[in-house]
């Protein structure tokens, strides 16, 4: 079970030899994290600290008639209570806080409900008290009078005429026009290419299937937390667990209607996010409670709060129709995607639509996307958001067509694989991508041809795409007199990015990774940096570090010139050695001369890069289906992904393995199991069944390296694509093991068993 890396034979940026890039140094924050010393948000202790607790709605849909905090406020130890009435009004403001233009009233409404609650767990009030227990007790004493309303829980139901309406002011935006009547459909968009009718007429085989996927949660182990201090000078300081300190700053300022400069956010260590720690929930509430009490206030969610009150990823209803000729060419593909946004618009249907057929070069395509509100928590991003749902549908239909045509499923995909220049239905043409290279690596892998070794076993494959993002990042590097450097960046480190960013600076400076000391700074101490998301940190923040390091090298050349009393144009720099004629000096030696040559050297990098490289991931999965119980066991699993250039291969593998296992959990176990009244019945880590070590085989990995021309080392973001193919690959494997094609997630034992019985009947 060895890990391997396949470097593309293509030379160029990825083929160059590096001293640091591609090695596996120990992460800089490692010692803190294996000794319990690393400070996560809940670990913060401040003098005079109060503890907050959120009151949440017991109903999935209800009008709030009255909230009375008097009894709670009278409990000894309680210092303050707040409701939505304490928040400044949102008016008609539209804001863009990193997730696209959104009415501020929706963001505000999700933080503390105003007139209506829209899901079970919706925050309605909060208290601050001297201990978490007193706060919890007080929260239970806040009286809220509700008028329950009928709820609607799935996209197809919410789209029907006569369905309960969540927002009286929501009008469907369809092809640029707004409808006259209130609806639960926030948006309907369409992407098209070619002539879909013609494409299906040319097909020898057409397969059309419909799919349903359940709402699932990112499942990070650290619950959300926030501590706020509204100081007496009007400045608000927030410490929290977030994927984007600047998003927290901007959102909190917006909600509280104060200038962004009045808010400082210190990102604490973050215990997982996967997209779920981009939205803001607790910070403005903690700030309000602090303002009322004059003391710092900490709020930490319970696990139940996390399930019921934060954004899972959308459940979905998807139809896919694909036609192909006998020669194995796809002639037409059509998709209908209706995603559940939860309580407020913003289901991740747009990225789902961008990715659904992105692996293929298809002439005729139509993709319809629907963003539908339902009475479930407002959804958030989850690792390649929207793409996994879409790939489950598309890749099982592709598998079925390949089978009908009698073509090997990888060969069929290779025959249709997208390449540089292929136009996606949503508009852009692919740049240099590694779709075919990933498929070829899958085909070559010994796993693909290994014997299955027993009955009721099957093997499935699938491929997935995530486009990745760029977005702004900032970085500064200061040179220390001992020849090391301090690197300051703004990207919270969830999976080892301090190190992958520091390594890129080290490569440029010609020093060891260990000689770069990276720090993730607060919003007052580093330039604007977008969220840790979209697989962007190693790419974008890495690029900022690269630029900052180049800036340092430029200045160090000047220092060498000054030292040698020559023109700077005569100084060359190569891997940490500065030379002119027969004179040379190392980075370290030169660093000792900064004071006499002009003072400190500080390099800066500030980027908003455009050269993003999308990433493809494929997987091969072997399963065994118990014919008596329908339980699916994963016997062997291989994840293959194009990393462009793996900066730190261990952490690239880690992303691939983690994404694969989240995909496996999504495929086989995980779901929001809802009562008809909209209550999540499994809101604990016992009943919301994430994979344990015992449920899994080793996750084998193959890193494919097709360099991204848009990055100096060829890096592509690697954080997300690996979650996309597993549900489809497992469905395809289950088909080969048990003879049934499944069209809903999760493929839990009861679903598998029912399909087997139906097939027999």
């Amino acid at each position: 079970m060895k890990t391997q890396t396949e470097t593309s034979t293509e030379t160029g940026i990825g083929g160059r030899e590096y001293a640091v890039v591609g090695t596996r140094p120990i992460r800089h924050d490692g010692a803190d994290k294996v000794t319990g010393r690393a400070q996560y948000g809940a670990d913060l202790r401040l003098p005079g600290l109060l503890h907050g607790c959120i009151v949440r709605s017991p109903y999935a849909h209800a009008r709030i008639r009255r909230i009375d905090t008097a009894k709670a406020a009278a409990l000894p130890g309680v210092k303050a209570a707040v409701t939505a009435a304490d928040l400044p009004g949102a008016g008609d403001r539209i804001v863009d806080l990193g997730e696209g233009a959104t009415p501020l009233s929706y963001i505000r409404g999700n933080i503390l409900a105003g007139e209506k609650v829209l899901y079970k767990g919706h925050a309605v009030a909060a208290v601050a008290a001297v201990s978490p227990h007193v706060a919890e007790e007080a929260a239970g004493m806040i009286e809220v009078e509700y008028e329950p309303l009928p709820c609607v829980l799935t996209a197809p139901e919410a789209m029907q005429a006569g369905a309960p309406i969540l927002h009286d002011d929501l009008r469907t935006e369809e092809f640029g026009k707004r409808a006259a009547k209130a609806s639960n459909v926030a948006q309907h968009f369409r992407h098209s290419l070619g002539d879909i009718e013609k494409g299906f007429r040319e097909a020898d085989v057409i397969v059309e299937r419909e799919f349903r996927t359940a709402t699932v949660h990112q499942g990070y182990i650290e619950p959300h937390n926030a501590t706020a201090l509204w100081n007496h000078d009007g400045r608000v300081h927030i410490w929290c667990s977030t994927q984007g300190a600047f998003v927290v700053r901007d959102t909190t300022a917006c909600i509280l209607d104060i200038p962004v400069s009045q808010v400082k956010v210190t990102p604490m260590e973050i215990g997982g996010g996967f997209g779920g720690k981009i939205p803001v929930y607790l910070e403005p509430v903690a700030a309000l409670l602090s303002k009322k009490t004059g003391r710092p206030v900490k709020i930490v969610m319970s696990r139940k709060d996390v399930f019921e009150g934060t954004g899972p990823t959308p459940g979905s209803y998807i139809k896919v129709k694909i036609g192909a000729r006998k020669d194995g060419r796809i002639t037409a593909a059509q998709a209908y995607l209706a995603y559940e946004a939860g309580a407020y618009p913003g289901a991740m249907v747009a990225p789902g639509a961008m990715c659904i057929f992105a692996a293929y070069d298809i002439e005729n395509v139509v993709i319809d996307g629907f963003d539908v509100v339902v009475n479930k928590p407002s959804t958030a991003a989850y690792r390649a958001p929207g793409a996994t749902n879409a790939a489950f549908a598309a890749e099982t239909v592709v598998d079925e067509i390949a089978e009908k045509l009698g073509i090997d499923p990888i060969d069929f995909r290779l025959r249709n694989a997208a390449k540089e220049g292929t136009r996606r239905a949503d508009g852009p043409r692919h740049r240099r991508i590694g779709c075919a290279e990933v498929l070829e690596a899958m085909k070559r892998h010994p796993h693909y041809t290994a014997p299955l070794g027993g009955p009721h076993r099957g093997r499935g494959v699938a491929i997935g795409f995530w486009f990745n993002v760029g977005l702004p990042s900032s970085c500064t590097i200061s040179v220390n007199a001992d020849g090391t450097v301090s690197l300051v960046e703004g990207s919270t480190d969830i999976g080892g990015t301090r190190t992958s960013v520091a390594m890129q600076a080290a490569e440029v400076l010609g020093i060891a990774a260990e000689d770069v000391r990276p720090t993730v700074a607060d919003t007052d101490s580093v330039g604007y940096t977008a969220v840790t998301g979209g697989s962007r940190v190693t790419f974008s923040t890495g690029l900022a570090a690269y630029d900052a390091a180049q800036d340092v090298v430029r200045q160090m050349k000047e220092r060498a010139a000054k030292l040698w009393e020559i023109g700077v144009e005569q100084v060359r720099a190569e891997r940490g050695i500065f030379c002119a004629g027969d004179r040379s000096i190392s980075f370290k030696e030169l660093a000792a001369h900064l004071e006499e040559t002009g003072g400190p050297v500080i390099g800066r990098g500030a980027v908003n890069p455009k050269g993003v490289g999308g990433s493809f991931a494929g997987c091969i999965a072997d399963v065994e289906v118990d014919p008596e119980t329908g339980k699916v066991s994963v016997l062997r699993f291989t994840s293959i992904q194009d990393a462009g250039k793996a900066i730190h291969p261990s952490y690239v593998e880690g992303q691939m393995q983690g994404g694969s296992v989240q995909g496996i959990g999504w495929a086989l176990n995980e779901e929001y199991y809802m009562s008809p009244e909209g209550v999540m019945l499994n809101a604990s880590l016992l009943d919301y069944r994430m994979p344990t070590s015992l449920d899994l085989p080793p996750i084998e990995t193959v890193i494919v390296e097709v360099p991204n021309p848009g990055h100096p080392f060829g890096a592509r973001g690697v954080g997300e694509a690996s979650i996309v193919p597993p549900p489809a690959a497992l469905a395809n494997a289950i088909y080969r093991a048990a003879g049934v094609r499944l069209n809903s997630l999760p493929m839990k034992p009861s679903v598998v068993m029912e399909a087997i019985w139906n097939a027999k009947a």
Binding site: R24, S131, H133, G272
Partner: protein
């Protein structure tokens, strides 16, 4: 405020005393009364293992033990795993194998793994997976964690030999 009781226990080799409300869990006492925040709260109902500590030789979820129940017991937390200035082989192996990403579940995994190797110096990968099934990790997919425990076992064997 409930009445608080004085509790004495041996934690990481030192005798400590703390005041504890009847409703406070051992996890709360460690974190809030003693400042030992290495053990984490991920679920507070015994299902994630992030709060794992060794209590009288057995691993427990410290969120499921009352602070009062810890009276007179011997407890090892993540803060007591390193040997002075030197990391324990399990800690070193986690770093070398890149067996952590966000690091939040890591203290629980390291405490549980150390307890395993104290009892069974040469566990199979399957045995490691069974032992660690009480600890949830959402980042790594467990592969590198299992390898780290195998490496630590080999390292400990070598030291003994």
């Amino acid at each position: 405020m409930r009445a608080r009781t004085q509790v004495q226990a041996t934690i990481n080799g030192e005798t400590v005393e703390f005041l504890c409300e009847p409703r406070q869990s051992l996890l709360e006492c460690l974190r809030d009364e003693l400042g030992l925040t290495g053990a984490k709260e991920g679920c507070n109902d015994g299902n994630c293992g992030a709060c794992t500590v060794i209590l009288d030789g057995r691993i427990v979820n410290s969120c499921l033990v009352l602070g009062l129940e810890a009276a007179g017991s011997e407890i090892t937390t993540i803060e007591g795993i390193a040997r002075g200035a030197e990391l324990h082989p399990v800690q070193r192996a986690f770093l070398e194998q890149a067996a952590l990403q966000c690091g939040f579940c890591t203290p629980g995994f390291i405490v549980a793994s150390k307890a395993l190797l104290d009892e069974e110096p040469d566990p199979s990968p399957e045995r490691i997976r069974l032992w660690l099934a009480n600890n949830l990790c959402r980042c790594t997919g467990y592969d590198k964690i299992v390898r780290a425990v195998e490496q630590a076992a080999a390292q400990l064997q070598k030291v003994k030999a």
